[in-house]
């Protein structure tokens, strides 16, 4: 086994060159390069974390803006709806008022017309009575030669018209 057979003659050389090469590896690579590589990784992780945080912040801001917009939108919609219903109610009220007014006018006209019709009818009836009384007076004078007074003829006509 050369490792043991040669040990006494090679150990110093092995130790010396191992210390040189491992020393180079430790001081140049381990102490010099590794921290820089780790720094690079750390910087990248930091950058990624920062970017993620910025993205999260933007997202939150966008959410807040959307929420605010939604609230404003809802308020606007409510206001518009209120305006619409208010004007609708107003229009309805004015329509009803106008309808009532017109109805009242029509009713008044109707009542007046009815009154006029009743008056005309009464007048016509009175005329018919007087005409009938004159006719009855006349008929009685001609046919029976009886002179009938105007009042008797009138009451007789009234009696007859009530029976008719």
């Amino acid at each position: 086994m050369p490792q043991i057979d040669q040990m006494s003659e090679i150990w110093s050389s092995q130790l010396f060159w191992l210390l040189i090469t491992f020393g180079f590896v430790f001081f140049v690579i381990g102490k010099g390069m590794v921290p820089k590589v780790l720094d690079t990784v750390g910087m990248r992780d930091q950058q990624i974390a920062d970017d993620l945080a910025a993205a999260q912040a933007s997202r939150d801001a966008a959410d807040a803006a959307e929420e605010a917009w939604r609230q404003r939108e809802n308020a606007n919609r409510e206001a518009a709806q209120a305006l619409v219903s208010e004007s609708k109610a107003k229009a309805q009220a004015s329509t009803e008022a106008r309808l009532a007014e017109v109805q009242a006018g029509i009713d008044a006209q109707l009542a007046e017309a009815e009154q006029r019709i009743a008056a005309s009818r009464a007048e016509a009836a009175a005329e018919i009575e007087s005409v009938a009384a004159e006719a009855a007076q006349d008929i009685a004078a001609r046919l029976a030669g009886v002179k009938v007074t105007k009042t008797a003829a009138k009451s007789a006509v009234k009696e007859a018209m009530r029976h008719a």
Partner: protein, 263 residues
């Protein structure tokens, strides 16, 4: 074992031999520091790892595939330390990362089938002298951090909380021995796992070669199944290369957690 190697036979241990390439007579304070094939593969590992890490230095906000790969490795170690040690684990990332990647790349580079083109890869993590040094380094960090943070209170690590007083005198020595065994188990685990896989592959490749040399009948009976097995074992070895590097890094981080937080 090396003596058994005869002509035409494959010596499965030969791959672990360290051969000097340069400066056989370089010395520091009387100790030889020849540049060996093992040292060369340590250099290759460090360079390949450096090149790999360069891909992670583009520092782009949107990473490419290479940068992504580097970042997933650093993130993996970072997460592991975060999970095992907590916030204090951050400062151990450079060490644990270096340890994990150095072992991982060494294990993987040692598995490269470069023998086909005549270059022999050398897995230096299959040497106890190397894994031992790495384990001692980790253990030293545990001791230094433990005594630095907790002073002599660090010794309470050997008394699990809630132990009844009479049991303390039995449990403390056991805990102490198991604590002292940590660097050995750490070093041996990696060394043995890497060595065993390489020996197994070499033995099977010996079966393939010798079976083919013995004739068509034997070749079909021995070489083909051995070769199929080699393919499976190679896949397993790639897995083991990753797992052993992970285990080494994970155990080191667990031991550091003990030092940071006691129990």
């Amino acid at each position: 074992m090396a003596g058994e190697a005869e002509a035409g036979k494959v010596d499965p241990m030969h791959q672990f031999t360290v051969e000097p390439l340069l400066g056989q007579d370089w010395n520091i304070g009387g100790f030889n520091i020849a540049y060996t094939n093992s040292a060369m593969w340590m250099t290759i590992t460090a360079v390949v790892l450096f090149v790999f890490m360069l891909g992670g230095m583009k520092r782009e906000l949107v990473p490419g595939r290479w940068q992504m790969m580097v970042e997933s490795f650093t993130g993996f170690i970072d997460d592991m330390l975060e999970a095992n040690i907590g916030k204090e684990g951050r400062k151990y990332v450079p060490y644990i990362f270096s340890l994990f990647m150095f072992i991982l790349f060494a294990n993987l580079l040692g598995l490269l089938p470069l023998g086909i083109v005549g270059v022999h890869p050398f897995t230096f993590t299959s040497h106890f002298t190397v894994t031992g040094v790495l384990a001692i380094m980790s253990f030293a960090i545990v001791l230094i951090v433990g005594f630095w943070k907790h002073g002599l209170h660090f010794f309470s690590l050997f008394v699990p909380s809630g132990t009844p007083l009479p049991m303390v005198f039995v449990i403390a020595p056991i805990e102490f021995v198991s604590f002292l065994f940590r660097p050995f188990s750490l070093a041996l685990r990696l060394f043995v796992a890497m060595m065993a896989g390489h020996i197994l592959l070499k033995v099977l490749s010996g079966f393939v070669i010798n079976g083919a040399n013995a004739g068509i009948g034997v070749g079909a009976m021995v070489s083909i199944p051995s070769f199929a097995l080699m393919i499976g074992i190679s896949a397993l070895e790639i897995l083991v290369a990753g797992i052993q590097a992970y285990v080494f890094a994970l155990l080191t981080s667990l031991y550091i957690n003990d030092a940071e937080h006691l129990h």
